[in-house]
């Protein structure tokens, strides 16, 4: 009797095990499938438009697009104005955010447990949760109204920089915390002043970690649309003047969405944006892997 019961028991355990394994696989597939569906859809719908011209030509006007569609041709032109605008604004945002964020991160690392550092850390975390459109509004109030007296790339950069700040602050602090305390002590014991220990030993040692944080922050803001609508506005022309309205890839996607003749351009622009974001993400992962 007993022996039979044991066999049954084992069989039911094996069955349960299979059911759970099946569930684990199922949920994993559910997690992975959105990104696969997104990328395959973007490739399917966007690849036709993606050509060298797409990267170096300006946005076509509605008439050109309409004519092309009527003749069953590809829409001419590209999104170089958006690409350059995105590059300009993200680069400027990085230039603004990185030094401030790294210095703040170092401050938090050096002052663990102190009240001002705790407040700073909490405020930085809250900033991370502020909706991006609100950051756009703030930048509109500060920069568009008072600094550039109109929509501008600078205003766009400021809103993106505020978004990047808390991410880099946190990653800087966490990276520095991972570095053994004894490296800092070894540096100080050599009579090296603190700031040189920081710039010559700690930051180079944590370089991969800092780069990971920066690249993830960049990849996060590259696709931001809402704050740019209120600040950079967009432009059909190539603009490298930071005090003038400027285009960006996500802004163009929004514009194309509102123009029935430009539907094909939505997909190719989205595909390009996706490729850029993925590239930043994968590079960040590479840096993270190099940390050991």
């Amino acid at each position: 009797m007993k022996a039979i019961n044991e066999t049954e028991n084992i069989n039911s355990r094996i069955r349960k095990d299979r059911v759970f394994l099946g569930l684990v696989v199922l949920f994993s597939v559910i997690t992975v499938s959105p990104i696969i569906l997104i990328i395959s859809k973007l490739i399917e719908k966007g690849y036709k438009q993606l050509s060298f011209g797409f990267l170096v030509e300006k946005t076509p006007d509605t008439m050109e697009a309409m004519t092309a569609i009527a003749n069953n041709e590809l829409i001419p032109g590209g999104i170089v104005n958006g690409i350059l605008g995105t590059l300009l604004m993200v680069a400027m945002a990085a230039v603004i955010a990185i030094p401030i964020a790294i210095i703040t991160g170092v401050y938090l690392y050096e002052n663990q447990g102190k009240w001002l550092a705790n407040i700073t850390r909490n405020v930085s975390d809250i900033l991370q949760g502020v909706p991006s459109i609100v950051l756009g509004l703030i930048s509109y109030l500060w920069v568009v109204k008072y600094v550039t007296n109109g929509f501008s790339a600078l205003a766009g950069s400021v809103s993106l920089a505020i978004m990047m700040l808390p991410m880099i602050v946190r990653s800087t602090e966490e990276t520095l915390k991972m570095i053994p305390q004894t490296l800092k002590e070894a540096g100080l014991a050599l009579g090296i002043p603190y700031w040189r220990v920081l710039t010559g030993i700690l930051i180079p040692t944590g370089f991969s970690g800092l780069m990971t944080g920066i690249l993830l922050a960049v990849s996060r803001v590259i696709g931001e649309t809402a704050p740019l609508m209120l600040t950079a506005l967009g432009s059909r022309a190539i603009n490298m003047n930071i005090s003038k309205p400027t285009s960006a890839i996500p802004l163009l996607i929004w514009e194309f969405y509102n123009d029935p003749n430009m539907v094909d351009m939505i997909w190719s622009s989205s595909l390009l944006l996706m490729i850029i974001v993925l590239a930043f993400n994968l590079t960040a992962k590479q840096f993270a892997a190099n940390r050991k």
Binding site: E185, A186, L190, T205
Partner: protein, 259 residues
């Protein structure tokens, strides 16, 4: 006056009535001791007896901690260490830590010269080469690494890394080398190499070493300090202390009754 504490004539380092407290916990209690030049002095004692704290005061690394308070005086060659700049003091006192800690982003060469480079001291390449070679020869590492000076310091074995760290501390030609359990993370072979090295280094430097390992203290030190609960219990020639300890606590520690 405590007769268990040896009086040293013309000490290179004189510690007088030194007390150190973290908040209200006294870690070092009223220690007075003179360290003799060109000797190896071991600081022994059970965990938490204040030996590492004492060592760290000697190059003012204790100042990295907050709420730490010291009284008493320490003079190096007659100069009050609390009155000179910490940077100057630390160049005169090299420090080696428990675990080998070469700077991971730097080559072997750069590790040795780091103290100069990061202090912004400009030198000709030839001068740098000389310092690197001298320091690495001093720690008997030159022959092992002379063809791979551009490799990262972290590529070396644990024992080699620790010798590299000693070389880094020697680069400034310090008066004193402070070692905080320098072999506790190393295997026996690497340990014995470091021990041999310390014996040869005392010709040019004064060595103060914290150790948990009594037989190590017996093997290489000339003088020993025994500390217990922050107090300096006994100080004298190592040979005498191990054969004829004056204080009951020293005897009990050395015979393994606690520790």
């Amino acid at each position: 006056m405590n007769t268990n504490i040896l009086q040293v004539k013309d000490p290179i380092l004189a510690i007088e009535n030194l007390s150190v407290a973290y908040d209200k916990n006294v870690a070092v209690k009223d220690v007075t001791v003179g360290i003799k030049k060109n000797t190896v002095t071991a600081i022994m004692g059970p965990s938490g007896c204040g030996k590492s704290t004492l060592l760290r005061v000697l190059n003012r690394m204790h100042e990295l901690y907050e709420n730490i308070h010291t009284t008493g005086s320490v003079t190096l060659n007659g100069e009050d260490i609390f009155k000179m700049s910490a940077i100057k003091l630390r160049r005169k006192t090299g420090m080696v830590f428990q675990r080998p800690n070469p700077f991971p982003t730097m080559s072997i060469y750069d590790n040795v010269i780091a103290g100069y480079k990061l202090n912004g001291i400009n030198q000709k390449k030839q001068e740098r080469d000389e310092i690197v070679e001298r320091s690495l020869r001093d720690v008997a590492l030159w022959d092992e690494v002379k063809d791979s000076l551009t490799k990262k310091g972290t590529f070396l074995s644990g024992g080699q890394q620790q010798r590299l760290c000693i070389a880094r501390a020697l680069a400034f030609n310090p008066e004193i080398i402070l070692l905080d359990e320098p072999t506790s993370a190393l295997d026996p072979v690497a340990t014995s190499k470091i021990e041999d090295l310390l014996i040869t280094l005392k010709e040019h430097y004064t060595i103060i070493m914290v150790t948990h390992n009594m037989s190590q203290a017996a093997r290489i030190s000339d003088y020993s300090l025994f500390m217990y609960l922050g107090e300096l219990v006994e100080y004298g020639k190592t040979k005498n202390m191990f054969t004829n300890p004056q204080d009951r606590r020293t005897e009990e520690y050395l015979t393994g009754k606690f520790g």
